[in-house]
Symmetry: D2
Subunit: 148 residues, 4 copies
């Protein structure tokens, strides 16, 4: 996977991997880290009935969970060592019912900054070899460093 971004911390991958492992919710819902590149992170999630809303589609909050983390870690991958990442806000558009066997959340940095990052997310539902875009996200993230 190629990337248009240069990471400021060469150990960005291990920082992302370790922080992801510390997000207990990911284990609770069964999500895993699929890809980590500078400014680009993908998270996978198998369908499970216990994650659904009333029509047995993935609940939009679960979609948000993996999309927000994908966006957040995409931004985090470009931050300096020692920085923490904070989601300020995000917006999600639900384009189609989240129906599938597996889901893939892709987060990409659209605009890196000194403190504020903007990332975009996509959620794909996969089934029978096909893949369908079911949601999009725009997230604003902040790098929090020791000296402000």
């Amino acid at each position: 996977m190629t990337s248009q971004f240069e990471p400021t911390d060469p150990n960005y991958r291990s920082r992302v991997t370790q922080s992801f492992a510390e997000q207990a919710i990911m284990q609770t819902i069964g999500a895993s880290l699929l890809e980590v590149a500078p400014g680009h992170v993908e998270i996978g999630l198998p369908f499970a009935l216990r994650l659904t809303q009333q029509d047995e589609f993935l609940h939009s909050g679960v979609s948000s969970t993996i999309m927000d983390s994908a966006c957040g870690y995409a931004a985090f991958s470009l931050m300096p060592a020692g920085a923490r990442v904070l989601t300020i806000e995000f917006k999600i558009n639900l384009l189609a019912p989240a129906a599938g066997d597996r889901f893939r959340a892709i987060g990409k940095v659209r605009k890196p900054g000194r403190s504020v990052f903007v990332a975009e997310g996509e959620l794909f539902a996969e089934r029978d070899g096909g893949s369908k875009l079911v949601a999009t996200m725009v997230a604003t993230l902040m790098a929090v460093t020791a000296n402000g």
Copy 2:
């Protein structure tokens, strides 16, 4: 609880209660329905480590889960019998770390419509008798009826 809205379906409460019971994710995370009034729904969630992000705060996706359902059911409570509710999009602003013993998501309809509803959500973190606003949401919902 008083409300500025008249429900079109007198059985709104049982419709909301039943649909909430069908959202498997609510049981998975431990959420429960606290209040149902016309255009106003509250959902409670005890803190649990398995719902957290890397700093042991509630993950924003979990916050989104209960806030989106609170907003969605607030809108659903005003819809006619037989309608389904669909979230078109929402935006969440994370104002403070979601740290607390319990969380309360409040969803209120801001503008009902024939097909499009706008609702606003608030998330309060509760601890030691105190309550703190930690997130706000704006959600756009749609009523889907048999004849379009």
Copy 3:
């Protein structure tokens, strides 16, 4: 007008008034500053055909112009002397056609911060002594200071 916020700069009002006077777009569209209180700013705009979209309602971009400035100055009023205010992002929900003789945009800080502020905006259309809510906004603003 009472306010729940204490301004950090006692000269907040003159700072807001002066900056508003420097927004050339306000004169271009005919907007004026109606109220300035700590964390609360109101902007007025008379209807004019030259500000409309194809149905002769106020164009949503014009609504955004006065709502964003109301939110931005509400935040600016709480910032320290010497800070500049920057809009990071905003979301607007259009609840009803912006039809009226006059419009009033109200911006209120929902959450002040050291660098990030969240403000909420409302747009009222006024006609024949009546007032109708036609749009809502959520805006994220940033205080930019010399030392970062």
Copy 4:
């Protein structure tokens, strides 16, 4: 310009052109229609001091004006003859100061629907042959037809 969308109305271009001509605000700010393709519309705007905020950058409301119309007409181009287009909501992220000699707003449909369309907008500031992305938008539009 190629497009991934098939227009349902072969006269989409004249419908868009005529509606744009009826948006008085476009003439007021000096905007013009640059491109119309199925699901894709571009609007141009020369810089003018009378459109600026306090730092002499384009006011975010003016950016919103041309981005919202670009998104709205991108959606409108795919709607059936006789439909009207309504913006339900939009979100704008301001990535950099809107400084340039000319601006180009690009609106693209991301997801067409029977009644709800999602479009994405980009705003480029152009100067000295260069072009810089300064803002992004996500907009939700609705097709309003006579029979609901």
